[in-house]
């Protein structure tokens, strides 16, 4: 109860931010205010107000993660709207749908009790997702990671991320019969590597790194055979090096990471444009609407961090990084407080997905690490990304509530 009262103060700050940034949007588009502008403003405030209100009513769990995410989506949608009002409206739609799915996922986590017993389903589900991508996938920006379902483009890998977390949680924290099989952990590692290999084939390097990170993290915490961890790291090194030698698209990433400037007109174009944007912003930014984020390709998507840094300054950029750090921290705290082993691992896995994904794409657009195409969770434009991120958050919210010990039903 005490925690929920405390939740009100940050919520007020959140609204203060919204009011300020929306007034900037109004100022920016003063000469050509359209209905869209009002729709965005009213829609965003209402959406966030009601979802927070509702959540406080129904969930006794963590009261911060949703607030943190609300801040992230607010920054994101305002930037997206400023880049393209059309996309901004669509993003508002996706956010609404995403938040609905957040509640759905929350209730599903809360009221359905057999999640830890579905290991085979997770396994089959993942492979089906991969097969669907490889068979029906279309290539965008070099990666085959989209499929078209009833006119809507979906990225199956985004869904598979969540399934992977459940698979690992079910293995380490659920039904013991799989863990007792001969060489069980070895088989799990092979499964994980088959996923990573398939992602390599789809050229979805960013997601491959997330899979590797989540798997390695959970293996580090829960594996009983510590030698396997070293085997995993060794295998990753070998895989990384052979990937570099075998695949040109990997080589290009490394070349443009080491020195993009000689390739400024072709393969180094994206990253150099991103660096131009970040350096233009300075600490305080050029001001909303006063920069040129549209010079960066995919400024509303993979490179939204650079676009935000340009117009809102790296202080906002640092703010975003800190929000993700807080989100990860809260997620881990949820895990530490959770007595149910399965949900503890789910909470860890989801927090790691958020954390690693943010690290990879932010580090990528800053040229700290090689650039791999990924969305910045909750901030970037994109239907699948928004919806699956909210589903993952809903699960995390569900996992933040007290539960019985794992395996109680089995023993």
């Amino acid at each position: 109860m005490n925690e929920r009262l405390n939740g009100k103060a940050p919520r007020k700050l959140l609204f203060l931010f919204e009011i300020l940034s929306l007034s900037l949007i109004f100022l920016y588009s003063w000469e050509g205010i359209q209905t869209e502008t009002y729709v965005i403003a009213v829609g965003l405030v209402l959406l966030i107000y009601f979802s927070n209100f509702l959540l406080a009513r129904i969930s006794k769990g963590d009261s911060y993660i949703f607030l943190i995410v609300c801040m992230l989506i607010s920054i994101g949608i305002i930037m997206i709207y400023r880049i393209s009002p059309d996309l901004g409206l669509k993003q508002l739609m996706w956010l609404t749908f995403g938040i609905a799915m957040f509640f759905a996922a929350y209730f599903a986590t809360r009221y359905i009790g057999f999640w830890e017993r579905l290991t085979p389903l997770y396994l089959i589900g993942s492979y089906v997702m991969f097969a669907a991508t490889l068979l029906m996938g279309s290539r965008t920006h070099g990666a085959i990671n989209w499929i078209n379902i009833a006119g809507v483009s979906v990225q199956p890998a985004e869904v598979t991320k969540i399934i992977l977390v459940f698979l690992l949680a079910a293995f380490y924290g659920g039904d013991e019969k799989y863990r007792r099989m001969k060489n069980a952990e070895m088989i799990l590692m092979m499964v994980a590597y088959s996923f990573i290999g398939l992602l390599f084939l789809q050229r979805d390097l960013g997601t491959a790194v997330i899979f590797f990170g989540v798997f390695t993290g959970l293996q580090y915490i829960y594996s009983e055979d510590r030698r396997l961890i070293f085997a995993n790291l060794g295998l990753a090194a070998v895989g990384g090096i052979s990937g570099y030698i075998l695949f040109d698209h990997v080589k290009v990433r490394v070349t443009t990471w080491l020195n993009p400037w000689p390739h400024i007109n072709d393969k180094g174009y994206q990253i150099t444009q991103s660096l131009f944007a970040i350096s233009e912003g300075g600490f305080f930014g050029t001001g909303l609407g006063r920069g040129n984020p549209s010079f960066i390709p995919l400024s509303y998507n993979d490179f939204i961090f650079s676009a935000i840094s340009e117009e809102m300054g790296i202080f906002t950029g640092i703010g975003i990084i800190m929000l993700f750090m807080l989100l990860v921290y809260r997620g881990f705290k949820i895990a530490l407080r959770q007595d149910n082993q399965f949900f503890r691992i789910v909470a860890l896995g989801i927090s790691m997905v958020f954390g690693i994904q943010a690290l990879i794409i932010i580090g990528g657009v800053m040229k700290v690490i090689p650039l791999t195409g990924l969305t910045l969770p909750f901030v970037s434009y994109g239907g699948t990304s928004v919806v699956t991120s909210f589903i993952a958050l809903g699960i995390l919210q569900g996992a933040s509530e007290k539960r019985g010990k794992a395996g109680a039903a089995n023993e």
Partner: protein, 466 residues
């Protein structure tokens, strides 16, 4: 259980450190790297800024306006008053093709986008249509015109410098191009086989030929054998290959001073071998061969080959053939060091940067580095005087002014020799040093380049203000 908690916390700390590192790098990038990235000519934002800002003007040393901007029909227009004359110094500033020359190097000053402080940003918010800073150059416009006239119809470069301060007085590279019409003619100009876009004076690499003998002569002096008599028979065999003199009948017995005056190839080839690769390379590198040069315009590094070249090539290097390559600017700095008693002045073109209101933001301070002993410099001065007084460079001689210099006729793969002259005047109190390079001229330095240098020196001594 306990180890599980520990490991969870380890992972959490790892992730958090990742985020902290990103924050650290982002701050570091913004403080120390962002400026250089932002100034990259490929950054399209530079252009956007300029739509609001009237680019600053550029004047010569006497205040003559060379370039300015004005608003015509609501649009900022850049007026290049002398167009071709400054195509390599001032350069172009085009939306589609980027920038070059001073327009590029000093862009942030010209658009006044440099001081990105919070207060400036606020001022810019209120009044975004600013006016850029002005540049004041060391160039003398009249001398620049004279130099261009003298180089008319040729291919090559001529540069005049004040050897004491490093002020560039004129700099011409031909063929040049029209800045005003460059946008329309981009393909023709950029694909022209004569490379008019190239600033030959700072970026062209050429076989130096006999002017490199200045460096070999330094080696002879440092070795302490300038008076030793050498018997020139018109050719010499080094490591099985024969190096011939221009005049194959042979110069007879010579010491350094006499060999320098007649530009005896066999003498300097044999001396180079005697000096040795390491010593000769050291001399060349002290004179900025193989070194990055800091200058207002883009430069290419002169090349002195590494040890793998063998004795024949070393002998050839001693007379400036073989694989030695230099830029005219580098040779001009070398001769300036001789003129300036062993101190090599660092060349510069931008004297000061002024606000639109006339306040000085930044002004250049002359710098020089000691590269030769005073004794070495005086000996070279005497020898170079002899070249003009009675040797290969008599065409550079003037009445009433003691000119010193060195000619060069460089064989190269084209079959037509480059004609070189480097020199300075007056001998005792040098006011101007000059380099003239005529690319693939097919004539000798003394015949083709020395007369042009003479006219530039004559004009500079009589007309350039201090």
């Amino acid at each position: 259980m306990n180890s599980e908690r520990k490991r969870i916390i380890t992972i959490l700390i790892g992730l958090c450190m990742g985020f902290v590192l990103l924050i650290g790098y982002l701050s570091y990038f913004q403080m120390f790297r962002a400026q250089a990235v932002r100034d990259n000519a490929y950054n399209k934002r530079l252009w956007i800024n300029e739509d609001n800002i009237l680019r600053g003007g550029i004047r010569d040393r006497d205040g003559e306006v060379l370039v300015y901007s004005e608003t015509r029909e609501g649009e900022a227009q850049r007026i290049y008053r002398f167009d071709n004359l400054y195509s390599h110094v001032i350069g172009y500033s085009l939306k589609d093709y980027g920038k070059s020359g001073l327009e590029r190097k000093y862009n942030s000053y010209l658009v006044n986008a440099n001081e990105n402080t919070a207060i400036n940003e606020l001022i810019n918010l209120i009044n975004p249509s600013g006016v850029g800073n002005n540049l004041s150059l060391t160039i003398d416009h009249d001398l620049q015109m004279r130099t261009r006239d003298l180089m008319g119809g040729k291919k090559g470069s001529a540069i005049a410098i004040n050897p004491k301060t490093g002020e560039i007085l004129s700099m011409v590279s031909v063929p040049d191009f029209s800045i005003e019409t460059l946008s329309e003619n981009w393909t023709t100009v950029s694909e022209n086989s004569d490379s008019p876009l190239l600033n030959r004076g700072t970026q062209g690499l050429y076989t130096p030929g006999s002017i490199f003998k200045i460096l070999t002569a330094i080696g002879v002096i440092q070795k302490g054998v300038p008076e030793a008599i050498y018997e020139c028979t018109g050719s010499t065999v080094i490591d099985g290959y024969t190096i011939r003199d221009f005049d194959e009948s042979g110069h007879g017995p010579l010491n350094l001073e006499q060999a320098f005056a007649v530009s005896c190839n066999t003498y300097f080839a044999d001396q180079a071998v005697a000096i040795g690769h390491d010593n000769l390379r050291e001399i060349a590198e002290s004179l900025l061969f193989n070194q990055k040069m800091d200058f207002d315009l883009e430069t290419t590094d002169s090349i002195f080959p590494d040890k793998s070249i063998g004795l024949t090539d070393l002998g050839a290097s001693g007379i400036g053939q073989g694989r030695v390559l230099t830029t005219p600017l580098n040779m001009l700095m070398t001769v300036s060091a001789v003129a300036n008693d062993g101190y090599m002045p660092m060349p510069y073109i931008v004297e000061s940067i002024l606000t639109p209101g006339g306040l000085t933001i930044d002004s250049h301070r002359s710098q020089s580095i000691k590269v030769l002993d005073n004794g070495e410099a005086q000996a070279l001065k005497r020898m170079m005087r002899e070249v003009v007084a009675s040797g290969t460079g008599t065409n550079a001689g003037l009445k009433g002014v003691q000119v010193a210099g060195k000619t060069g006729t460089a064989e190269n793969s084209s079959g037509n020799n480059h004609a070189w002259f480097v020199g300075f005047a007056p001998l005792e109190d040098p006011k101007v040093a000059v380099v003239v390079l005529l690319e693939e001229e097919g004539s000798s330095g003394g015949r083709a380049a020395a007369p042009i240098a003479r006219e530039i020196i004559n004009f500079a001594i009589n007309n350039v203000s201090n």
